[in-house]
């Protein structure tokens, strides 16, 4: 069985992904309300 690669959180931190999504949604909402 091949060893699973350890996730490098430098690229793919779940908390970071959620925060990024929230920010981008807020930016989009702000743009559309202008």
């Amino acid at each position: 069985v091949p060893m699973e690669e350890e996730e490098d959180d430098d690229d793919d931190d779940p908390e970071n992904r959620i925060a990024k999504k929230m920010l981008l949604e807020e930016i989009k909402a702000n743009l559309s309300s202008d």
Binding site: D9, D10, D11, D13, E15, N16, R17, A19, K20, M22, L23, L24, E26, I27, N30
Partner: protein, 94 residues
């Protein structure tokens, strides 16, 4: 206490935070201008507060340590600034 507050120090820390985050957010260059627009809308009292100085110092320290969470710290700062934004008071019509 500091009579002038922490305005200048906070501006310096905010500039440092932006400089640190710029290369880390090159995949979404619209994020930092958004953070700046939040900063512009923040009340002057909060911009000169020790509370903001603490938040900025903490965010700077963390982003230096963990580049992978840069958006978490930007989001935290945005939320803090939003909570202290100037509210436009519309005059009530008689």
């Amino acid at each position: 206490g500091r009579e002038g507050g922490y305005k200048e120090e906070n501006e310096r820390l905010f500039g440092e935070f932006l400089a640190l985050c710029t290369p880390l957010t090159s995949d979404h260059p619209e994020v930092l201008p958004f953070l700046c627009s939040r900063h512009h809308k923040t009340s002057s009292g909060f911009l000169a507060s020790a509370e903001l100085r603490n938040v900025l110092s903490r965010c700077l320290r963390r982003v230096r340590r963990r580049h992978a969470k840069v958006y978490v710290y930007i989001n935290e700062l945005c939320t803090t600034l939003k909570a202290h934004s100037l509210r436009r008071k519309l005059p009530l019509q008689p």
